[in-house]
């Protein structure tokens, strides 16, 4: 079980936060370009899913899997988007993303009066808490911490 990386986007598609743990392959483009590519892909998938769905969607897109990794997507009603890449066997990542939102984002970003919510996150406290939160999760424990 491995957690690769995490993206947080706001509702306008601006990358608020990026962080990686076990990433073996870089995409070969700059981080800004990669974020735009990722957001564009998610935006297209969302519209693809609502169109191709045979029934009325509620939560819409949840995750996709390739042969090597799985991408999990969680969007709040306010448009904040959490994207987490893990290995394909990871379980209950959706709940985990929701917990990141509730226990880390709301606690250390929303409740911090000096942070502008539409700006990329630079808070050290958030960084530490998020790192600790991810590392204590069952999906992370058995991964190769040495490569970090």
């Amino acid at each position: 079980m491995t957690i690769h990386n995490l993206y947080i986007f706001n509702r306008n598609g601006i990358l608020l936060y990026y962080c990686e743990w076990n990433r073996l392959k870089q995409s070969g483009i700059t981080k800004e370009e990669e974020a735009k590519l990722m957001y564009g892909m998610l935006f297209s998938i969302k519209s693809f899913v609502t169109k191709i769905s045979p029934l009325d969607t509620n939560k819409g897109f949840l995750c996709y899997k390739t042969s090597k990794y799985a991408l999990h997507y969680f969007e709040t009603p306010t448009g904040l988007k959490f994207v987490l890449n893990t290995d394909t066997g990871a379980q209950n990542i959706r709940d985990f993303l929701q917990q990141i939102y509730i226990q880390v984002y709301v606690e250390y970003i929303v409740k911090n009066p000096v942070i502008d919510l539409q700006e990329p996150i630079t808070s050290d406290l958030f960084k530490q808490k998020l790192d600790a939160f991810v590392k204590q999760s069952p999906s992370f424990t058995s991964s190769k911490v040495t490569s970090y």
Binding site: K25, S27, M41, D56, Y69, L71
Partner: protein, 216 residues
């Protein structure tokens, strides 16, 4: 349950599509003035943009007004549906809403949209040598994609709980190889119009839903 099968050629064009067991979502109700739904005219149809109730959801389109079919915003007798709805004297009104059905054009458009998504998913991979999207999960369906060595993509849209789709995809590939590729009148990259392929695929899907893939 299986909702549909799509086959996309190497260059991203939709060459085959079959709708299987797509549930029809329709609701007809009598409304009094003022209407408690917000309707907008968008993409050549009258859509609900706000105010979900009694099974009528945001995104549903107006399909009939007082049992007269509506196409776009025009009734079959040539009157404008939105004008009738705005006029207080016409109430009570019987309106029928339904989930919009995909047109062939939209299906072709969606198939070509999947192609770059598949490629980007592989490019953004945190692990080396990743394939493209194999399974895409949403709350109402699961899309399984199988890419052959020659680049043809087979896609099945099914219920999230449906199992055995991987085996089904291989079977469809087999049918494609047997009945489409061996047909001397079939051109590669062109839409598949082979009767035998259609009948065999239909039979395969029915058998799968009846007794599972292991018996096929």
């Amino acid at each position: 349950m299986i909702y549909g099968v799509y086959i996309v050629s190497k260059s991203g064009g939709l060459i085959f599509n079959l709708d299987h067991n797509v549930p029809k979502i329709e609701n007809e109700q009598t409304f009094s003035y003022p209407l408690d739904l917000k309707l907008i005219y968008e993409n050549k149809s009258v859509k609900v943009s706000f105010g979900q109730r009694d099974g009528i959801m945001v995104g549903h389109v107006l399909t009939a007004l007082n049992s007269i079919p509506v196409t776009g915003k025009q009734l079959d007798d040539g009157r404008d549906a939105l004008q009738i709805i705005e006029n207080k004297d016409n109430y009570p009104l019987r309106l029928k809403f339904g989930r919009p059905k995909m047109t062939t054009n939209e299906k072709i458009f969606l198939a070509s949209m999947f192609y770059p998504l598949f490629a980007i998913a592989s490019q953004l991979s945190p692990e080396p040598k990743s394939s493209g999207i194999e399974v895409l999960e949403a709350d109402t369906f699961k899309l399984h994609c199988f890419q052959t060595l020659t680049g043809v993509k087979f896609m099945v849209v099914a219920e999230p709980t449906q199992t055995g789709i991987e085996a089904l995809l291989k079977k469809i590939y087999e049918l494609y190889a047997d009945f489409a590729l061996k047909n001397p009148f079939y051109d590669l990259e062109m839409p598949i119009r082979c009767e035998l392929f259609d009948t065999h695929l239909q039979a395969l899907l029915e058998q799968m839903e009846k007794s599972g893939i292991s018996n096929v």
